[in-house]
Amino acid sequence: MGARRKSHAELQSEERISRRIASVEAIASIVNNLIRWSGLVAIAYMGYRTVGTLAGQTTTADIGIRFFTEIRISEFAAWLLGAGGIGYGWRQRKLRRDNIERLERRVRDLEAEIDPKRTSSKLTKRGDTPREDR
């Protein structure tokens, strides 16, 4: 049985909605990108200003230059980046294992319905090597 043909009014309504969706997404995307890229522009600009001090165009008294040349801030940013990187990697690892655990159960259940004698690799539910195999 074929699907019901949409009326002209319904198609017009769908088209109008699709346009609205595109508009909202465009606005949100522009604003989000503006905020995101302005961070990069700010970093690049301050780097440029710092180099400018070499030519005597600005002085180290400039608050932005002082921020960039302050050793404690530099160290803090480096530590934050390191800790953030480790945290990111650790969370990604957890996410991957959570995903394996969620899918493993469903695959096992569904395959067991087709093949009750289905064998297993004996890995843990989270995809790790079992303790007794280590």
């Binding site: 909202v24 989000n32 780097g47 302050e70 940013a77």
Partner: protein, 193 residues
């Protein structure tokens, strides 16, 4: 300016650049992945609930909740505080009408939800409400932990909330309900279209 200053400035720039990539690229993608993973997990639980026979797969309440979850999964990458405001404001009524094109009238998401769950047993209704509440928690978490919110807005909002705590906070509660209803309607619509 001494050479030490220049080296420190270069190191600071590199670290800030790294933090920028971490926050606005890697963390952002991670947030989308984890949001989808949690929403998939919740949807699986709902599916299992139906598989056990607690609710029929053809029950409109089940279909409505699953479709709304699908909508959130689908536009999880676009779920930001800005879209949270724009979607319900600009699309709410029309998208809802399109999503429910086969039905007549312009009942709100909440009214439809109540109509669909009204005939269910109190236990099952509570169960579905819990799923819906958990879905909202995931959305709230995603909005609050987005890179922009985390970096720019959360400290400001936390300060303002603390300042206006008590009476002002309670005053927001009824509006929150209305806002959630609108975002649900948008997710249901996106999941259906």
């Amino acid at each position: 300016m001494t050479p030490d200053h220049i080296i420190t400035a270069i190191y600071t720039s590199i670290s800030l650049l790294g933090l920028w990539v971490l926050a606005f690229w890697l963390y952002r993608d991670y947030r989308v992945d984890i949001f989808r993973e949690k929403m998939f997990s919740l949807r699986d639980e709902l599916f299992d609930c139906a598989r056990k026979g607690d609710i029929d797969f053809n029950d409109p309440a089940y279909a409505m909740l699953r479709t709304t979850m699908n909508g959130f999964i689908r536009f999880g990458d676009r779920l930001s505080f800005l879209s949270f405001i724009l979607y319900p404001l600009l699309l709410g009524p029309e998208l809802l009408a399109a999503a429910l094109e086969k039905q007549r009238g312009d009942a709100s998401f909440e009214a439809r939800w109540k109509a669909h769950t009204g005939n269910l047993s109190p236990e099952l209704r509570d169960k579905l409400e819990t799923y819906r509440m958990r879905m909202h928690s995931l959305v709230a978490e995603q909005l609050l932990l987005s890179p922009l919110m985390l970096v720019a807005v959360v400290p400001v909002v936390a300060y303002l909330v603390m300042k206006a705590m008590g009476r002002e906070l309670l005053r927001l509660v009824p509006r929150r309900r209305l806002f959630i209803e609108r975002i649900d309607a948008a997710a249901l619509a996106v999941g259906t279209v």
